[in-house]
């Protein structure tokens, strides 16, 4: 007998998802959030064509100008065009959001699978995860960045590290509950290889909760990057990010609040859209979590 004929877990991973993307248009609010996020993604991709000026070009004679035909949103304290900076700022935010989601999910998945399957490493791994989880994520991230210097890569790693334990614990809990299922026991008893058991029988169970978790990691990573930049411990202002545009606007916020308002608005909108999509994904993909959240 081949393990392929075992029920339930034999579905290919893509098959689990294909028919269910409809949730993105489930309610008007989710549809608006999806469109909003797509627009922000498009804005970031096409930033070089959309931005009217060079986002890092400083024109000292044009400092803190109000909105005009030339500078639609005005200029910042160094005479840089605010609109161009805001348009470019989304690139880093989205890159870090997606990067952190992918990285945290990948690493967390591996740790979770190992931890859930091998009891002898479980205790050690989980104590380590508890330790990382006990450190407030922003403190952990700024400590990592302060030591290794702030580049897009180090900020990405610094933001990802505190997210890994949450993913690992989620995967572990799914694996632990799936391990006792008859189809996994059957696969073990007929001598399926370990990678095959993990890939075919355990992994598919984790896909839906992981996608949901990945959206939250993405939203949180975008937020954390902005916080790091805002505190002055993130990516340097030569690369505009929404966080460091706001940080740059702090000194002038009493005379020119728009330096904080516009990047803040786009930042909030992005996170809000991703969170809403995450909630919708949870309701659509993971009925178990939906019940836990109390929807009847």
């Amino acid at each position: 007998m081949s393990t392929d004929t075992l029920p339930q877990s034999s579905l290919p991973i893509t098959g689990l998802l294909r028919p269910r993307l409809g949730f993105l248009a489930a309610t008007p609010i989710i549809a608006v959030a999806t469109v909003c996020l797509l627009l922000i993604i498009a804005m970031s991709i096409f930033a070089p064509w959309l931005a009217p000026h060079d986002p890092v070009l400083m024109v000292p004679s044009q400092r803190l100008k109000p909105p005009s035909a030339e500078f639609l949103l005005g200029t910042d304290g160094f005479g840089r065009d605010l609109l161009s900076r805001v348009v470019y700022g989304g690139r880093v935010s989205l890159l870090i959001g997606l990067g952190a989601a992918a990285l945290a999910t990948g690493v967390g998945l591996v740790i979770g699978l190992i931890s859930g399957f091998f009891k002898w490493v479980d205790a050690v791994l989980m104590r380590l995860m508890d330790g990382v989880m006990a450190i407030p994520s922003i403190l952990l991230a700024i400590a990592v960045v302060s030591l290794s210097g702030a580049s897009v890569m180090t900020v990405l790693v610094a933001i990802t590290i505190p997210e890994i334990p949450r993913v690992a614990r989620l995967v572990r809990s799914v694996v632990l509950s799936a391990r006792g299922e008859p189809y996994v026991e059957a696969a073990i008893s007929i001598g399926s290889s370990l990678p095959k058991i993990m890939w075919r029988h355990l992994m598919p169970n984790t896909v839906a909760p992981l996608i949901v978790q990945a959206t939250y990691v993405c939203a949180y990573a975008i937020l954390t990057e902005a916080v790091l930049s805002f505190l002055g411990t993130g990516i340097s202002p030569e690369t505009p990010t929404w966080g460091n545009i706001i940080a740059g606007g702090r000194a002038y916020f009493q005379i020119k609040p728009s330096l904080i308002f516009w990047p803040g608005l786009l930042l909030s909108l992005s996170i809000l859209s991703i969170n809403l999509i995450g909630d919708a994904a949870r309701d659509a993909l993971d009925p178990r979590m939906k019940r836990r959240e109390g929807a009847k």
Binding site: A134, V145, F230, I246, N275, G294
Partner: protein, 313 residues
Amino acid sequence: MIGYLLRRVLTAIPVMGAVALFVFLLLRLTPGDPAAVLAGDNASPEHLAHIRASLGLDEPLYVQFFTWINHLLHADLGVSLISNVPVLSMIGDRVEPSIAIALFTIIVAIVVAVPLGVIAAWQHGTWIDRCVMGLSVLGFSVPGFVLGYVLIQLFAIDLRWLPVQGFKSLSGGFGPFLERMILPTMTLSFVYVALIARMTRAAMLDVLGDDYIRTARAKGISETAVLLRHGLRNAAVPVITVIGSGFALLISGVVVVESVFNLPGIGRLTVDAVLARDYPVIQAMILLTSLIYVSVNLLVDVAYTLLDPRIRY
């Protein structure tokens, strides 16, 4: 109960051990000479030697680790690399604003969020419920520093009701102190309210479907009593849990809010230490905040047994 408490304290020790190991290795595993990393590019040889001696970087790694742990266990958090002041006294000088905002935030958040969650669950599916849930998603999405500046613009600059920024110690009178705490507390409690309200609603929805609620209603007990005595008391465990696990969010939030409102607290101290690469202060702050987080969650676990007689260890 005492046996349980002891066991629970014992399980917190390996967690703190993992935190200490992590903090220790973070500096030592950074590529390059740790002293050079801390001193920056234009450091004088004397400064490098000072950092090496101060952190004991010339010793073998395990000797460094155990010396450091030994100092920690004697409440010696080291000395700042910049000002040569003991880190513990630096933290002591700056702790008042941070504790004040954290306390105010927890109180405000619980007082606002729990009723919101209860009402949302009670009015499940109505516009009230949707408003509360919408507010909660918004709370997770609007960054604290953006909200902080919006509130400053509104209440301090446009309406002129409150001071823009700054801090007055409680010893200088309650009025000026409270006045400067209102906006930071509002800013920080937003996300915490979102978290607690969401969990209260979910926990209440779970409970309100149970048979004993129907029985209580059938007995003709007032709706308030049903919701509070029969509902909320049984929904308390997940709500208390999220208050505990949300504490990490609160600590991170304090760091941000202190920067927005120019409060001279330990969050500001941490950021300044990071910008100056004052590693003894950074590692002390990570250890301290983790210790607070672990202790709060230990208290939460103990609270379970008091709140829910079914939980016995």
